[in-house]
Each structure stands twice: as C-alpha cells, then as structure tokens.
Symmetry: C2
Subunit: 120 residues, 2 copies
Amino acid sequence: MMVSLAEIRSEHGQVFTENCPTRTVLDHVMSKWGVLILLALSEGTTRWGQLRRGVDGISEKMLASTLRTLEADGFVARTAYPEVPPRVEYALTDRGQELVEKMLPLMGWIAENANEIVAR
Amino acid sequence: MMVSLAEIRSEHGQVFTENCPTRTVLDHVMSKWGVLILLALSEGTTRWGQLRRGVDGISEKMLASTLRTLEADGFVARTAYPEVPPRVEYALTDRGQELVEKMLPLMGWIAENANEIVAR
C-alpha cells in the first residue's frame, strides 16, 4: 500500500511541525546508532556485550545513552538478573518490534543501493 | 512482505558494518532534517523558500548543507533557472522517490504513535 504525506496529514493533521511529538521521536530513532541498535535487537534478546560487538564501531557511551533513550520511549526493555557477575539483557518491546518492522524494508533498500549511491 | 535482518544479510552479506557504504547512507538520510526535507519534496518540485517554510524550524545553513548531501547522493535534483531574481527548484530524483516510498510507512507509523511515545 502506497502512503503519501498528504494521507498522513489527512489522518493526523499538521504533523512533523516544530513542536509536534513526531519531532522528538524522529530525533530519537532516526539516527544511525538508533537504527543500528534496533536492527541488532530485531534478532532477539541480546546482552550488553553482544550489542557492543554487534553494532560495529559504537562506543560504550553512545551505546549506553542510545539504549537509555530507546528504553525511555518504550521501544526497548532492559532486564537485569541478580547474578554474579550481573547479567543485563535487552529486548524489543511490542512497540519496538512494530517500529523495526516499518524500518526493515527501508534498511533492505539501503543495503541494496548503498554501493551505487556512495560510488557516485 | 516481512523482511528480516537475516534475510537482508543473506542477500547482501555483512552489511551495516563499520566500513560498509550502508553506514554512509544511514548517516546521510537517517537524520531528522534529512527525513523532513525528503518528506517535503515528496509533494513535488519545490523552491528554496517553500522548503525553508515547509520544513518548520530548519536553519538556512542546515537546509543548504542537507540539500547538498542529498544532491551528492543522487536523491535530489537541483535546477537553477537563469532568471532575475534567480529561481532554484529542488525535486526528488527517481532514486529519491524510491527512498521516500520506503520511508513513508515508517513516517505514518511515527505520526500515529508519537503522542503515546512522548507521553510516557
């Protein structure tokens, strides 16, 4: 189904304007690191160390802060197990799963076209 | 059609790693301003001033630099007409159109869910 900006506006009014909540969500999820973390979590529950390796090149600090934002927005659930050493796992919530499902076709397109785009 | 990261990888190998061209493309298009400009252009050929007003809150500098990146990647075509005063128009290329088509379902989902996400 094709969606257009006009259709989005007819359902939701003047979205994407400066003080619209959509701007906050765009800021949080439309970033390279946000997308890469969500993608990594799309494969299932993941421990901190796996995420650190799975999202190639991310710093500890960026991983921690991006995870905190995604958790606060309700996209990611963090579970800490009272073990020694402590075990912390991250997983997509239902809302996070929905978001990733909308992102995957875009990521597939980027994977398919990136070589050609960058070679220009 | 559901797409998964595993399917993307089975077709394109280890994408989204640090030196992969996909990272460059993610950096260029997965930003709040990149997305908002592409969305504004999805409505058709647009003049500089219309874009400036249509992308609420963007600075002249950010609009200029984001348009340059999107033009260099082949998503946006810039046409300058030799008139007085000069008229400059921006439009999506076929590639930009394809990209926006993949983005619109995601933007629709964000428009639908942003209130609830931000209210948490």
